[in-house]
Symmetry: D2
Subunit: 140 residues, 4 copies
């Protein structure tokens, strides 16, 4: 079952006060969750490559940041109670930065299939977070 | 795209030293991730119910624990480098406890659709973590 | 032992490539960690208040966001390898937003001592993150 | 300000239903938080060492697991509402396993000061979690 399916299932049964929702929001939570998963595994896959450590250090670090930031952004976006648009927007912006930085480094290593796949998941999360940010309700 | 699809995609491109994998492991990471998502939203949905606070306090707290614990278990299970079976086993056991406790309370509130759905996701994660724990390689 | 003591102890033994450090950085990680702890407990303390749920829903939600965001910001700020200033800056900005929003709501409830204390920890984290953001190396 | 100071400050203002508390509990949350901080930085310090990657892969992975697990254990232990002893006990057990496994590998690398320091923080968290587990109220 996809993350977006869970998001919609849980939103449908929310009694009141739903401020975010719809196809874009569910897709955004899913892409963030998928990107976090890809980054957790890419950091771990990088540790199995036969290189001098410093070659992969930047990639591993950005993978870790991106996993932490995307997981947090997915949680913040999933919550509806007491919605404060500026906090959600700032967290989406942080995810956009983290995904962009991680994708850039992974694209430089795209001969490694895990980096190529991770870069793709980062770019998908970056794009949908951008669309979500532009359509966030209540942002001045 | 499901979490299990990402897990498999990232494992396929791992160069060496893959200690966990296969259909059960990918399903376990997916169920843990889905359960964490359901719990994050169930805590938030509970806050929108028209009750005296104490009525939902236990459910909200167990939702929060279960979301934190399942997310951490999914990360620990996803990593392959330097595999230590006892740590993975202990984290799966913690997830089994957290899912079971959260499911029990949500099942008592199953007239609320979000609690009914959350309990289902908790039970699915609990079951697959049990199967994973029984087939974990290297456990003495 | 304070968090800042750990930060400095671990930085001192880093062999090369230290990009962030100094008293302000260690204090920032500590304030973020303390704010996350205060928010985790304030959400839980709010659940023990005898109110209609909706009265505390916004406070509990902002506590949860702030705990998640400050913990992630502390991790991102603690890492040195492959430093990307824009990602660190975006995460500090998200923490500033989350701390400000949570402080504002907690200050409205300052007759509850846990909200008064939580607001204080949020404002301290907000302030030191602002100072850190203004002195972040390499930001264009 | 230490984490234990925050824990006590926030517990003092909790209106009702405090199930855990006292000096040992506050110290346990602090040691877990300090261990998570040390592990996050040790993983990052290991990335700056001039080795073939595989030499440090196990240490980095156990650092990551231990940081994730100790942070989650600190959160679970900090919550009071709807206390379920078995979940708290299972999470403390997972922290004891993770700290023990990480300490063992870091002790093998104790010529690196960050690993020596990290091992010390792991052992302190392991010990206080053991004491906490033995005195957890309501455990059958």
């Amino acid at each position: 079952m996809t993350t977006a399916t869970i998001v919609n299932e849980m939103l449908t049964s929310r009694p009141t006060d739903t401020r975010l929702g719809g196809e874009l929001m569910a897709e955004c939570v899913e892409r963030l969750t998928n990107c976090a998963q890809a980054c957790t595994q890419c950091a771990d896959d990088c540790l199995a490559e036969q290189f001098q450590q410093h070659h992969m250090a930047k990639c591993i670090r950005l993978n870790q940041d991106c996993a932490d930031i995307c997981s947090t952004a997915a949680r913040v976006l999933s919550r509806q109670a007491g919605y404060v648009p500026d906090t959600v927007a700032a967290m989406l912006s942080a995810a956009i930065e983290a995904c962009g930085a991680c994708a850039l480094v992974c694209e430089e290593h795209s001969q490694m299939d895990h980096c190529a796949a991770c870069a793709r998941h980062c770019r998908e999360a970056e794009n949908v977070c951008g669309a979500m940010l532009r359509s966030l309700p209540g942002l001045v």
